[in-house]
């Protein structure tokens, strides 16, 4: 391994993970998840009756995710309020979480998931998904498994896990690529797959193999944090 990462990590080494469950007393479930300097917090409210009534679905609960950056989480102040980027990412997170939830148990209700980034250093949606998944478990929503998420990156031709912002801004060769993924823990089912950059199709498999290993590490941290509150 001759490739040197800016912060000296190995290609398959995640930043330090911090995970904590039960950070917002008002919420039915809540969690914090951090990859190094990227910090996400999530709160779950519900299932609760959905208003307006015409939006209710008698067959199932509705999952509603809202993701955004806090204004001071990035270098240039982010204007508060939803942007097209945040609306798109909210939808992606919703789709990433839904496959493990048993929403049919709560007809006519809504489960609101609020995800906010307090400090951003790349990988905000993946940290957000990890926090949201833990918060849903904490809220006692029936789940088949947890969702684990990580971004795979590419620097020129080298695949690495969990890019920092400095790595995302890499220049030269094939440039930087960012591939955020999420999967159902302990399965081969991918629930989030996005990509920006330049990667030959035949190298996607390698990226997924890296993602599998990294997601397993995320999963262990999520379980550890959930067990800490389980006894209380």
């Amino acid at each position: 391994m001759t490739f040197k990462r800016k912060d000296g990590r190995k290609v398959d080494e995640l930043r330090e993970i911090k995970a904590k469950v039960g950070i917002i007393p008002n919420a039915d479930g809540s969690a914090m998840f951090a990859f190094g300097d990227t910090i996400a917090i999530a709160a779950v409210y519900g299932p609760r009756l959905l208003h307006p009534q015409h939006m209710q679905n008698p067959e199932t609960a509705i999952l509603r995710v809202n993701y955004d950056l806090m204004s001071f989480s990035v270098d240039d102040r982010k204007r508060p309020g939803p942007s097209r980027r945040s609306q798109e990412i909210s939808k992606m997170i919703e789709h990433a979480l839904m496959p493990v939830l048993d929403l049919k148990e709560f007809p006519n209700t809504v489960i609101d998931v609020q995800v906010y980034i307090t400090q951003a250093d790349a990988g905000t949606r993946t940290a957000g998904i990890n926090a949201a998944s833990m918060a849903l478990a904490h809220a006692g929503i029936p789940m088949r498994s947890l969702i684990c998420s990580v971004a795979i990156g590419k620097q020129d031709e080298e695949l690495v896990v969990d890019l920092t912002k400095a790595e995302e801004d890499f220049e030269g060769g094939e440039g930087p690529s960012d591939i955020p993924v999420a999967k159902i823990a302990d399965t081969d089912q991918f629930t989030l797959l996005q990509l920006d950059g330049k990667i030959p199709p035949q190298r996607i498999k390698e990226a997924l193999v890296l993602a599998n290993k990294a997601c397993n590490e995320v999963y262990e941290e999520q379980k550890k944090a959930l067990k800490e509150v389980a006894g209380q």
């Binding site: 609306q87 789709h95 094939e174 081969d188 991918f190 996005q194 990509l195 950059g197 990667i199």
Partner: protein
């Protein structure tokens, strides 16, 4: 009838057919409808193109304006892609603020084009740090019969290749009456194209009609182009609450190069 959802009985039948590798219109599951490209939709646009993919029709227009560069890229021109899902094009589309599909479409096309590096944004600088060209690509579906994304990406790429840079008046503003003969600086062999897979049951198929698209719960979009002679994926997004397995993703990777080649060769015929 036109505004009804596909009925359960239709979806069940479609699922069964697709699992046998068949479709209502007789196409193979990985077969695109033939597309046609024409140009010069509007002589006021710097460039424009019309794409017909089966009954799906999208037009794209390019306008350019002199602007200040973004603070984080003082030595680069700007690219903006937007789209409006007009109620003109489908009983599904409504007036008012864009819903998710209307937000997603231009963002997917934007990423496919931007990340491909097709446009040499550095050559769009007029005065470094002060004045650069902004290239605005606007997409309008005219008739939605499924797969708007792939059709819109073809239209955007074709319209950019069709565009001539406006003149500049002595006062330093854009002169649309005297367009230059100079084209937008592009990488010649780089044609960003989009290929979107849809999944119903266990079947994965390409280029859905509207009925097929509305029967599926999940799709995955890829933006592709050639870079330094190599085929690259420039963008990807899975949309929908159903997972893809690793095996399915690997299968799609094996289909992409051949499909890209087919679309690329077809588009080149019109350029």
């Amino acid at each position: 009838m036109s505004s009804m959802d596909a009925s359960n009985i239709t979806v069940d039948h479609m699922r069964k057919l697709l699992s046998e590798g068949k479709r209502f219109d007789g196409r193979k599951i990985d077969e695109f409808r033939k597309f046609e490209v024409s140009f010069d939709v509007s002589n006021k646009a710097e460039g424009s193109a019309r794409v017909k993919l089966g009954k799906t029709e999208v037009i794209a227009g390019v306008k350019m304006v002199l602007d200040a560069p973004y603070p984080d890229s003082p030595d680069k021109g700007n690219l903006m892609v937007s789209a409006e899902l007009l109620p003109l094009a489908s009983p599904r589309f409504e007036q008012g603020p864009p819903k998710f599909d209307g937000i997603e479409l231009p963002r997917l096309v934007d990423r496919a084009i931007r990340e491909s590096g097709m446009i040499n944004l550095k050559e769009l600088v007029v005065t470094p740090g002060e004045k650069v060209w902004t290239v605005m690509v606007d997409l309008y579906p005219i008739n939605d019969d499924g797969n708007l994304i792939d059709a819109a990406c073809i239209a955007a790429t074709a319209a950019i290749r069709n565009a001539n840079i406006p003149g500049i008046k002595e006062s330093g503003v854009s002169d649309y009456k005297n367009r230059t003969k100079k084209q937008i600086p592009v990488l010649k062999d780089c044609l960003p194209l989009s290929i979107t897979f849809y999944k119903l049951g266990d079947a994965i198929f390409l280029d859905p009609t509207r009925e097929e698209a509305e029967s599926t719960d999940v799709k995955i979009n890829f933006g592709l182009s050639h870079w330094s002679g190599k085929l690259m994926i420039n963008s990807c997004q899975k949309t929908g609450p159903v997972p893809f397995t690793q095996e399915e993703i690997e299968k799609m990777m094996s289909i992409l190069p051949e499909k890209y080649k087919e679309l690329n060769e077809r588009l080149k015929k019109f350029l």
